[in-house]
Symmetry: C2
Subunit: 137 residues, 2 copies
DNA sequence: CCTTTGTTATATTCATGCTATAACAAAGGA
DNA sequence: TCCTTTGTTATAGCATGAATATAACAAAGG
């Protein structure tokens, strides 16, 4: 799967990394049991520090997307245990998006179509085996 | 209308302020032509620095929610000029939310119901005249 | 005149992001 | 047994951004 890092973005590198992994899971390019590169390996390929990758992995574990152990490295494992916390986070994020949409005269139908199109797009994804690293300029 | 500021939140104060104003507009508590408190007055009531409020106001102007002039202060004025930029921002934000939702087994129907409920909630709001300031602990 | 408005400038303090280097225990392979 | 690799932790340094503190300015209005 593809990991894109934009060094010119104002978004933190570890946050970009976390988001890319979550997108990969949603697109079914990363499945339960799949291994992620080790923190040192991925850091080396991306050209960032080890701790930056480690921070992303620790965040993904905290939010229930991967499990980390010393022998297998980081392994995809989506947990539904603390789902209520995740759902609450999604709610508040969605509230701000809907508020902006209403202000900018985006109708309910437009928004629901947007959500549906995104669900379709995520479901229609292909699968790739290797993790390819790509950096934006 | 009510402005809540959480000093313990990890979210920047000026960003919280910006979001609260946008929520106020979406709830129809703030309408086109309504005046916001001056940067100094609101800063004084909230107990924050003048520049923090000024930063939020400048951001709101940049995103087309208010107009600022020297005589009337900040006035609500939702612009649909640079809408394409706003829509693009909404799209990328929504993409991450949907990705997380798919990972956490939230169905398309659940998400669309969530969007609809939020549209309903925003439309069913009452109106208040004064701007009341409230700080979280 | 005087006040208030947004705006700009400078400086300081503090938190965060990122890097650099190092070391540790645990597991697996040769 | 030795070596490598794994995640993890610790410490330090640097850069950036957030927030504050003062100060000053032009423009508008009473």
């Amino acid at each position: 799967m593809l990991i894109e890092i934009d060094f010119n973005s104002s978004e933190a590198l570890y946050m970009q990394l976390r988001n890319q992994i979550i997108l990969g899971i949603a697109r079914d390019m990363l499945r339960d049991g799949d291994s992620l590169p080790s923190v040192r390996q991925l850091a080396s390929e991306l050209g960032v520090n080890m701790h930056t990758v480690n921070k992303a992995y620790a965040l993904l574990r905290q939010d229930g997307y991967v499990k980390l152990d010393r022998r297998n490295g980081a392994v995809i494992s989506v947990s539904l245990e603390n789902r209520s916390y995740q759902v609450e986070s999604i709610h508040s994020d969605m509230e701000m998006i809907v508020a902006q949409a209403i202000c900018k005269d985006i109708s309910l139908n437009e928004m629901q179509k947007l959500v549906q199109d995104m669900y379709d797009a995520f479901s229609a994804r292909q699968t790739s085996i290797d993790i390819i690293v790509e950096e934006k300029e």
